[in-house]
């Protein structure tokens, strides 16, 4: 085995030029695949990050309240007690927060935009506080200073909001400016309130264009809700990957505690109003979702990106396979006499086959490792450079205004394994042709 390995290695070294060429092709494609995977992973991560900061916990215990059959209020009653049940019933919780949900317009003297309003108790949300970044004044105001004004902690005060830089630019407002917040209440009435901007935050992709934070008391007043009614309990887990299982556990816990649960529907809550409205029940039902569900409407971007990457890499692999087969066929022909001699001195057919396969294996492993690692390095470099994306359409697809690439070791390992496997597969045809050779004929072959 060791000998075969050495022979294969030597052969590769001897045919330096073609080995280099094939390696180059393999490396380029491996590099490309890694970058595309990193991009897709980057988008997925951005999505998770912005989803769990802006609109969702890892799991959400939300629901609908219906005073009459035709209603569908996205509310949870007895929210404190339910939070306690959640905390007692589920292991692995990092922390939980209660968020009020609203939908309305923010109006400045110059403009107005429609946003979803998240009522937060900022003093109870260390997670949120540490993950939101303040925008520099120059980011939203021409000629602004290069420093962040405002203080997110002031969201504790009544009638305050924190908005995002893109919104501030649209509304032409700054920290400390007043805004009018109007919503339509549960009864269809228009309520309005003046609020003060206490912080302007760095944009977080598209999702942040439609999101603002407000103090929870003010929002409750706007909707005329009592203390113990809110929008959702957002549960943050120590291990976010466990969200699906944790949600299943929570469903059992809550239903055992006597709560009515809606059937699981893996879509964001705002897509469920119509469904709930049509259903024949009144009172409270809880609805559990994961962060993934709440941003399911954004997934087409990742899906599309993956589809493009896979088809591109697929085509490229076919071309490379053709190249490998061709090169090795020629190499087998060139080495016919050598193979004949080896067979004549007692080498088995299987060993000949193995010799050629080993060649492909070494080529595959070395070339893809080089390509994948270069790709990974390049991706990390691009990621850390925080390159701005110029086109709004690309921003929409990538869900971010900077280029985010995330490389994981598993991507690299998978790429190397896939490509090596692939070159072995391609080498089987020429290798088996070599193995089939009759020793005597082979020696007589004039090459």
């Amino acid at each position: 085995m060791k000998r075969l390995f050495i022979i294969a290695f030597r052969n590769l070294l001897q045919a330096k030029q073609r080995t280099l060429m094939l390696s180059l092709a393999l490396s380029i494609v491996a590099l490309l695949l890694i970058i595309l995977l990193a991009l897709s992973q980057g988008v997925a991560n951005t999505m998770r990050k912005s989803a769990t900061i802006l609109v969702s916990g890892h799991i959400n215990v939300a629901g609908f309240y219906k005073a009459k059959v035709d209603d569908s209020f996205p509310l949870v009653t007895n929210v404190k007690q339910i939070e306690q049940t959640v905390l007692n019933g589920l292991d692995g919780i990092d922390y939980t927060v209660i968020r009020q949900r609203g939908w309305g317009k923010i109006i400045s003297a110059n403009n107005r935009i429609q946003v979803s309003i998240h009522g937060v108790e900022i003093e109870k949300e260390p997670g949120l506080k540490s993950r939101l970044r303040m925008a520099l004044q120059s980011e939203y105001k021409e000629g602004g200073q290069n420093k962040a004004l405002g203080d997110i902690n002031q969201l504790q005060e009544l009638d305050t909001v924190a908005i995002f830089a893109g919104q501030a630019k649209k509304l032409e407002v700054d920290v400390g400016d007043p805004l009018t917040l109007t919503t339509e209440t549960l009864a269809g009435r228009v309520n309005t309130k003046d609020v003060r901007i206490v912080a302007i935050l760095k944009d977080m992709g598209f999702l942040s264009n439609w999101t603002i934070f407000s103090d929870t008391r003010g929002l409750k007043e706007l909707y005329q809700l009592n203390e113990d009614t809110s929008g959702a309990i957002q549960v943050y887990l120590k291990d976010p990957d466990q969200a699906e299982q944790a949600m299943a556990t929570l469903r059992t816990v809550l239903s055992d505690a006597g709560h009515d649960l809606m059937e699981h529907n893996p879509n964001p809550f705002w897509q469920k109003f119509q469904i709930v409205q049509g259903e024949n029940w009144t009172g409270q039902k809880l609805d559990l979702t994961t962060w993934d569900n709440e941003v399911s409407f954004l997934k087409w971007a990742v899906t599309g990106l993956d589809a493009v990457s896979l088809s591109l890499v697929g085509i490229l692999l076919v071309i490379i396979a053709i190249g490998i087969i061709n090169t090795m066929l020629i190499s087998v022909r060139e080495r016919t006499r050598e193979i004949g001699s080896l067979r004549a001195i007692g080498m088995h057919r299987r060993q000949v086959l193995l010799m050629f396969v080993l060649e492909a294996l070494i080529l595959g492993v070395v070339a893809t490792t080089v390509g994948a690692c270069t790709g990974a390095a390049l991706a990390s470099l691009v990621d850390s450079a925080q390159i701005k994306i110029p086109s709004a359409a690309v921003q929409a697809i990538l869900l971010s205004d900077t280029l985010n690439l995330t490389v994981t070791p598993s991507q690299i390992l998978k790429t190397i394994a896939l490509f090596t496997f692939f070159s072995i597969g391609a080498s089987l045809i020429p290798a088996s042709r070599a193995a089939r050779m009759e020793p005597v004929k082979a020696i007589h072959h004039v090459g």
């Binding site: 009459k68 003297a109 259903e279």
Partner: protein, 689 residues
């Protein structure tokens, strides 16, 4: 060039079959992909441009140069907040631009978001009918109305009791519960015939306000010249009802919106399942999304029962009994059985619904001819309600299924101006003055509004959150007058518009037209800026660039790898042929000659397989051009400008593909050919061993 030079490469190609085959197939697929890809993308570009230009934007949009924001009609990433600026006097702009020879017409456009509510307050209607019944002393009708009112009150009471769980303001709620209970007492009705005013006043003041205002939908509206719009956006067609008569106020809803958002929920579900099943070939049993839709259907039976008169309930129960003899119990349980559909019975249930049930219920929120109240937030931030007559629904031919093309509902220019709330510069600065003078926290925007506009009905302050504060309502008589009012062409044009859609005689002239508009703009001081349809469509229009970018990137990478592979194959082929080349050189062939042989070899291979590849792509494209590529999702209908994309290709696509591929293949031969020319005759003849 002599025959030998042609014959040698041909012989070589035949001799090295494997290499020829492999390089040939790479070239073949390369050309195939380039031709297919570029043709498809150009077809999509053309169809999308048709979708966008023929639905909303026209070829060019002109708008005020006072705004530094880019005009994006299909959404720029925010919800609302598009600051398009204003064109103060559209007539001037229209006259000037329509003088240009490239321009066919300029159509005014104004965009305003608004909400409409469905249903209306049934209590108000009942009270009105009660008054009539009292006036004509019709005690039978009165008794019936009383029963209806009490049913509503019982429902209200139940929901008020539930609201106690979530509402902060318990006092008001408890008061309303007390009022509702009073209506249910028999003693309350004792005096209705003796002192009707007292009873009715109580109902009007205390009860009617508790009634439901109904469901709310948010709509995007396009105010335009309703006479000229259909003329210049030639895909426009009325699908129901009629166009708003000339010089009248009116509202036209997009068919998409009417069918998808303003239709009875059950009917909508039946439509959707029908479409999935018969248009997209999905099966209820196998498709999880469809399955969950079907599972939810029986629970929604109230969408039918709520709409039925007692008489119709009886009729429906009998008909259902005939259809479903196995279903027992009352109408509700029968309906639940009826709504339990599967792949086998769906067609018949769907048909029964439309034949029997649909005529008994209100299938849409509004019928043609109804008066609709549209509510919007005006420019200055106060609410404005406007009544308009709903004349009909429209669609753009070929874009029936696209929700993007049906994104806007149309209204006349005058209604738009009212909902938009024109603010003059003086009003703006006056507002600003008031804002500065008075501490903002105390005087909210609506109070400023009061000061400015002589006061609205309400006196509430900002702190009084549960108020309908700054609503400017139009009284019924006023509203009627508005609906009756007619206006002239002059009024449409001489006034505010947000943008103008410029329609050209020929889309190809777009660059000249832009230049002409710019110069007219400069000389006549029109204060305009322009954007093409692509710019105006925002992200949607940019998408084509992204797709194109991805395609070119993919082609580039594919050729890069192909280049390496071809190069490698050729180098190997050269090495194999070292003795042969040596022999040629020995009998007097020049290096140049050897080089030529190699290049020619690739050229012959490249041209033949390239042409084949291009032909294969052309063949596939013409096939697709006749059968069409079906749009897989809503968004693609817009991209494809219809349910199918019928791709076309031109000679230039083929030539481009072949040229690119030949260049690449020749380039990849140069290195191996150079190696070949380096072969020294004597070394070559010695061979490898």
């Amino acid at each position: 060039m002599n025959r030998t030079l042609i014959l040698i490469p041909l012989r070589n190609l035949a001799a090295n079959k494997t290499t020829s085959l492999i390089v040939g197939s790479i070239i073949f697929f390369g050309t195939f992909l380039v031709v297919l890809g570029t043709s498809l993308i150009d077809s999509i570009d053309a169809s999308m441009s048709k979708s966008i230009t023929s639905s909303i934007t026209g070829h060019i949009q002109v708008y005020s140069d006072a705004t530094d924001e880019k005009l994006t009609l299909f959404g720029g990433g925010f919800m609302g907040g598009d600051n398009m600026g204003e064109l103060r006097n559209f007539a001037d702009i229209r006259t000037e631009l329509e003088n240009l020879k490239e321009v066919k017409a300029v159509v005014p456009m104004g965009f305003v978001n608004g909400s409409i509510s469905g249903g209306g307050n049934r209590i108000d209607q009942i009270l009105e009918e009660m008054r009539d019944a009292l006036a004509s002393a019709d005690s039978v009708t009165l008794e019936g109305l009383k029963g209806q009112l009490q049913t509503i009150v019982r429902d209200l009471l139940e929901s008020r009791n539930k609201l106690l769980d979530i509402a902060e303001d318990q006092v008001t709620l408890l008061q309303s519960i007390q009022d509702l209970n009073r209506v249910l007492e028999t003693s309350f009705w004792d005096s209705i015939e003796s002192t009707p005013d007292k009873t009715l006043n109580f109902l009007e003041n205390n009860i009617a306000k508790l009634g439901d205002t109904g469901k709310i939908e948010y709509l995007r509206n396009l105010g335009t010249d309703l006479e000229r719009f259909p003329k210049y956006f030639d895909r426009f067609e009325i699908t129901r009802g009629q166009m708003v008569p000339a010089g009248k106020r009116g509202y036209i809803i997009s068919t998409q919106m009417y069918e998808n958002r303003l239709k009875n929920q059950i009917a909508r579900q039946f439509d959707k399942i029908h479409k999935d099943k018969f248009d997209f070939g999905k099966s209820i049993a196998e498709d999880p999304d469809l399955k969950s839709r079907v599972d939810r259907l029986p629970r929604q039976y109230r969408r039918i029962t709520y709409e039925l008169t007692p008489e119709n309930s009886r009729i429906l129960a009998t008909k259902l009994e005939k259809l479903l003899p196995e279903a027992t119990g009352d109408l509700v349980s029968k309906l639940k059985v009826f709504l339990n559909v599967n792949d086998d019975n769906f067609k018949s249930r769907h048909d029964f619904f439309y034949e029997v049930i649909a005529p008994m219920i209100k299938l849409y929120w509004f019928n043609i001819g109804d008066t609709i109240t549209i509510r919007s937030v005006t420019q200055s931030g106060y609410y404005k309600s406007l009544n308009v007559i709903f004349y009909g629904t429209y669609r753009f031919k070929g874009l029936e299924e696209s929700s993007m093309a049906g994104a806007f509902n149309l209204m006349d220019m005058l209604s738009f101006r009212e909902l938009y709330g024109v603010m003059t510069e003086e009003m703006k600065s006056e507002m600003e003055e008031i804002r500065k003078e008075v501490e903002f926290q105390e005087v909210g925007r609506e109070n400023a509004e009061d000061l400015l506009f002589g006061g609205a009905e309400s006196e509430s302050t900002t702190d009084d959150v549960d108020s309908v504060a700054f609503e400017s309502t139009v009284s019924p008589t006023e509203a009627d007058a508005l609906i009756q009012e007619t206006f002239s062409d002059k009024e449409i044009n001489q006034g505010l518009s947000l943008t103008g859609a410029v329609i050209l005689h020929n889309q190809k002239d777009i660059d000249q037209a832009l230049a002409a508009i710019d110069s007219a703009n400069n000389t006549k001081q029109l204060h305009l800026q322009t954007t093409t349809w692509q710019g105006a469509s925002g992200i949607v229009g940019q998408l084509i660039y992204v797709i194109r970018g991805v395609l070119y990137f993919a082609i580039f990478i594919i050729f890069l790898v192909a280049f390496v592979i071809i190069n490698n194959s050729m180098v190997m082929a050269t090495t194999e042929r070292t003795p042969e080349i040596g022999a040629m050189r020995a009998i007097g062939a020049h290096r140049k000659f050897v080089m030529r042989i190699f290049i020619l070899e690739t050229l012959i291979l490249g041209i033949s397989t390239g042409v084949l590849g291009a032909c294969a792509a052309a063949g596939l494209l013409s096939y697709l051009g006749t059968v069409g590529i079906p749009a897989p999702a809503d968004f693609f209908i817009f991209l494809f400008s219809g349910k199918h994309l019928y791709p076309t290709f031109s000679i230039s696509h083929l030539l481009f593909g072949i040229t690119v591929v030949i260049l690449i293949s020749v380039a990849s031969t140069i290195y191996p050919a150079r190696i070949a020319t380096q072969v020294e005759p004597i070394v070559a003849m010695r061979g490898r061993d």
